[in-house]
Symmetry: C2
Subunit: 376 residues, 2 copies
Amino acid sequence: MTLRFELLHSEGAARCARLHLPHGVVETPAFMPVGTYGTVKAMAPWELEALGVQIVLGNTFHLALRPGAEIVGLHRDGLHGFMGWTRPILTDSGGFQVFSLAALRQISEAGVRFRSPVDGSEVQMSPEDSVEVQRVLRSDIAMAFDDCTAYPATEAQARESMERSMRWAERSYLHYYRDEPPGHLFGIVQGGVHTTLRSASLEALGRREWAGLAIGGLAVGEPESERLRVLEHTVPLMPSHRPRYLMGVGYPQDIVAAVQRGVDLFDCVMPTRHARNGHLFTSAGVINIRNACYQRDTGPLDPECRCSTCQRYTRAYLRHLDRCGEILGVRLGTLHNLHFYLDLMRQIRASIAAGTLAQLSARILAIPRRSPAAMA
Amino acid sequence: MTLRFELLHSEGAARCARLHLPHGVVETPAFMPVGTYGTVKAMAPWELEALGVQIVLGNTFHLALRPGAEIVGLHRDGLHGFMGWTRPILTDSGGFQVFSLAALRQISEAGVRFRSPVDGSEVQMSPEDSVEVQRVLRSDIAMAFDDCTAYPATEAQARESMERSMRWAERSYLHYYRDEPPGHLFGIVQGGVHTTLRSASLEALGRREWAGLAIGGLAVGEPESERLRVLEHTVPLMPSHRPRYLMGVGYPQDIVAAVQRGVDLFDCVMPTRHARNGHLFTSAGVINIRNACYQRDTGPLDPECRCSTCQRYTRAYLRHLDRCGEILGVRLGTLHNLHFYLDLMRQIRASIAAGTLAQLSARILAIPRRSPAAMA
């Protein structure tokens, strides 16, 4: 079953499309909120729908540890029924989580062994295990199991890691498509910041008909200029009739820059995690609502925002909730930050359709990553 | 301005009425969810409205410490604008919170001094201070500042405490009504479990035209039989044309028992606090969702419940969220528990109107307080 990816508009390398998945259509460029343990932290599914979220990401690694794939699999339609989300889901493969465990893991050709961060028990995960879990979760898009290369890495280290990822990609593919799968499988390009390795990785992946390709191993600590250099080398080599997904990115500015270079899909914990730390996105930059300057501020969080948090509440109230550790504070902040991201993607799609992405991009890139006054 | 309390139906001592407050009508018997810091924990105002909540309780003591009455007062309509709640609010006086601070407090005729549990600073609160804060919060119903008598207490201790409460009630009354107030003031009957003191307290309060009367100093550790004895003595002595409020009660069984004895208003942290501890009310008793027996349970929390938690989710999912410390778990549990309470009150009102409260009461009193199997 081929994945239908309907290209609608383009402006330079940027494109606007519709991705037809088993659980619905996703308009790209799209942002996928992260739902690690079967819930986008602090949000209910109906709130995500109201925000216009069309696809969420689930974490295979976390769900395999808690509650375990088997328990999710007892539910109608897997992870969809478990978490009450009827729209599309992309699951990652767990490769990145294994990578971030660092000291606790052991990598061999067979797969990885690690100590469970939940209970300390020894766990193994092979490419076949990862893909099997994703089949049970019944995600619309599953990801090949990969070995995410650290930054910095020598070219030799990056090559060894990339080549292992390519062998694991092949095993993932064979296991995923061994019989009728619940969705589609994406391959992951690796190779660190070494463009020759990125080319070699793409060549290796070219042996199979992936439903889409992701760029992995970025947003792991490299400077922005390195990331853009790798993107500018890699994206033009990726099939243009398939969706391209930049994993784990990022700030609004990073997303716009990657869209301009031809990326279609994004995921990042930033809007949800930032909200839990009181860091809120506004049209003037990120503000820290814990700052004392908001104590008596009866204005809305962002006067330009139309989300329900900004329509109903003052900065003084949001700061108060944060200080008191109230769940509603996390909820209202998460709602606002996700609205900011979803609205950004809507603006990006509309501007590609209108041929005005360059202007939108100039405006987004001019927003400071942090509001200097407010973060003081 | 007299408080309009419109009696509609009665069955024995139980009555069904409409309480007309500045921010709307409250149908009684009513349950008031507790919104300590300007938020009913984990809930958004629009969710409370959807549940049919007609009045919430705010804590004067907590709000005076954080963020401080002055900051709430910067908002349109005080606490209503601050927390985005347009329906009625009752504020307690802080007397009960001072009581529960125990070792940290010093009581004198002027009022109380205590160490702030927030930052350790010394704080003073007199009857005038409490009422002043409540005026700034602009609650529909304010409570007189009282000295909540501990249990057990000797008759002499209970008398001294009750008499102080009566002098403080007088000062509260004079301060609240010194000019046009934002709402109505309730007096609080004290006297512990000593019926002669309860009578004396009511006689003292009878010197003023209170908009309603509350029964304080119960649900502080006394046995159920003592509480019912005090209620059966006290309620018939309270004016029948004014609302009667039993503070801090309680389990569904306690509420039904008190309604049958003529009480109209209730508040309790139980549904919200229980939810945060994984204790969920069902038609078969309270279950602990943390229990291992729910690990693979794909049935709804309560098959008889029509709340969105029970319509959408399995016990296995709720247990998983709880284990992972996910905010959505607290939200779904709180939503369910509050629905249980609000639905109970709707059933109580309907059965008084139909003359069938005795049957409903028999059914509610037969529900075990804990589900023995599930709590094992």
